[in-house]
Amino acid sequence: MSVVSVKGLTLRFGERLLWENLNFELEHGELLAVLGPNGTGKTSLIRILLGLLEPSSGTVAIEGRPPAETRSQVGYVPQQRIFDRDLALRGRDLVRLGLDGHRFGAGRLSATQRDRLEHTIESVGAGGYVDAPLGRLSGGEQQRLRIAQALVSNPSLLLADEPLLSLDLAYQQIITGLLDSHRRSAGTPVVFVTHDINPVLSIVDRVLYLAPGSWAMGTPDEVLTSEGLSALYGAPVDVLRLRGRVVVVGTPDDQHVHHVGHAH
């Protein structure tokens, strides 16, 4: 059975149609990149998968159940947003919240949970700074800890919403590497929202491209073509392959760093 099953999903905000009749299934270990310009409902799709937003029509099932019932089995990595420098919290505390932060009471961890916590921290390579003040860590270190928070509950699905934003190239590779190795070893499917396909191009199985009012899905080679994207946008768009990178020229929001790669 597929882990995620999306059938006939349609999202409208008032008069505005974001997408219509979206269908896909996600199998164990599969990595789906959700691409597209701003305002096409990439984050909304994540919120629907988390059961925080109701679609206009259609159904979503995660391991056969509605998303609102499966939140504690879903790991979520939000956009990298720096923590307050003076926040009185250690990295360890942030990771632990993924384990029992939703439970009432003050509570202690069981021996098994403690092992799980230590193991996860080691697995993302955060052992060296996990007891330091969270707010004094770099953005990349904080993002490693967020990955650990998402993984610590041993989720059956991982949702990552622009997890690479404002990270440098080295850390982009580390973070994608962590997600990639986890989905291979644990078989957890990953939905990876990103405005730039290149950092994940070598590891994605399929791409869901959201354009204003329409969408396309398939392997990167199927979706990211001049013909495909031109049809999607209803305007001429060129997709170039340069030194193993995908460059998209001519989309309405071309002025963004976007598909043109990184402004390093």
Partner: protein, 270 residues
């Protein structure tokens, strides 16, 4: 003279009330500082004053009016869950008008002006046995709330997005934390007065957060600092005829300064 005073019943009551209030203020302070809600505490406190003044006008117990006023504002702030600048200016606007109403109530009230002074600057020496009991009950309620909601409250305070994704009722917790805060504020007013509530609810927690990043330890440390400040302040005011509130705020601020210096020089210079 000092030892004579220490044997007095009213002094015992003052020390007991101070301790009860210190414990609850220190405990909730961690969440207030982490959520950046210091200004909200000030608003809740001043509107507590308005409630108390209103109660005086209509001949009710000012403490009832104060709790009503604090809870009302706490509820509104919690439900609105405003963030950033919007919250800042909205609180400022509401606070100013609320205080204006309080001034009107006071001018309508024909009783003793001391009542108003006590509300504004605190009066711990006149605490009755009954009041001590009431304070203890309210403290028990707030502490039960803090302990019972500890983990989701921590989660939603430091990482609201992550908490929401895990199904933590972030908005409901925001209302809960403001209601607990309103009850705490109404208690603290009775010891240090409306204008000095922050010295018990904010300063000890802010100092504790400079001394340790371990959240539970910081929370307990804030309780200890608040206890030292209130009990020390009460004892000093027995030995020297200056206002208790002054001594409490002075000790509290002194610890805060030391904590900041420690943080800037000692702890983890990475």
């Amino acid at each position: 003279m000092f030892t004579n005073l220490l044997a007095q019943h009213f002094v015992h009551n003052a020390l007991a009330a101070g301790a009860i209030v210190a414990v609850v203020s220190g405990a909730i302070g961690w969440f207030v500082v982490t959520r950046g809600a210091s200004f909200a505490v000030h608003a809740i406190s001043e509107l507590g004053f308005t409630g108390a003044a209103g109660a005086l006008v209509v001949g009710l117990d000012p403490i009832v009016g104060m709790i009503g006023g604090s809870l009302g504002v706490g509820l509104v702030l919690g439900v609105l869950s405003l963030r950033g600048r919007e919250r800042d200016s909205a609180i400022g606007a509401v606070l100013a008008f609320g205080l204006g109403i309080g001034v009107l109530f006071l001018s309508l009230y024909q009783g003793y002006a001391t009542e108003a002074t006590n509300l504004l600057f605190g009066s711990i020496v006149g605490v009755s046995d009954r009041q001590v009991l009431e304070l203890a009950v309210v403290t028990a309620i707030v502490l039960t709330g803090v302990v019972g909601l500890y983990r989701p409250l921590l989660f939603s305070s430091v990482d609201p997005e992550g908490a929401e994704a895990r199904g933590v009722p972030v908005r409901m917790l925001s209302v809960a934390v403001f209601l607990l805060l309103a009850l705490t504020t109404a208690e603290a007013i009775q010891v240090v007065g409306v204008l000095l509530v922050l010295t018990l609810v904010i300063t000890p927690a802010a100092a504790a957060q400079r001394l340790t990043v371990h959240p539970t330890r910081a929370l307990l440390l804030a309780v200890v600092i608040a206890l030292v400040a209130t009990e020390g302040g009460i004892l000093l005011s027995l030995a020297h005829p200056w206002p208790t509130s002054f001594f409490i705020s002075a000790i509290s601020f002194g610890v805060y300064l030391v904590a900041r210096i420690y943080d800037a020089t000692g702890r983890d210079s990475s």
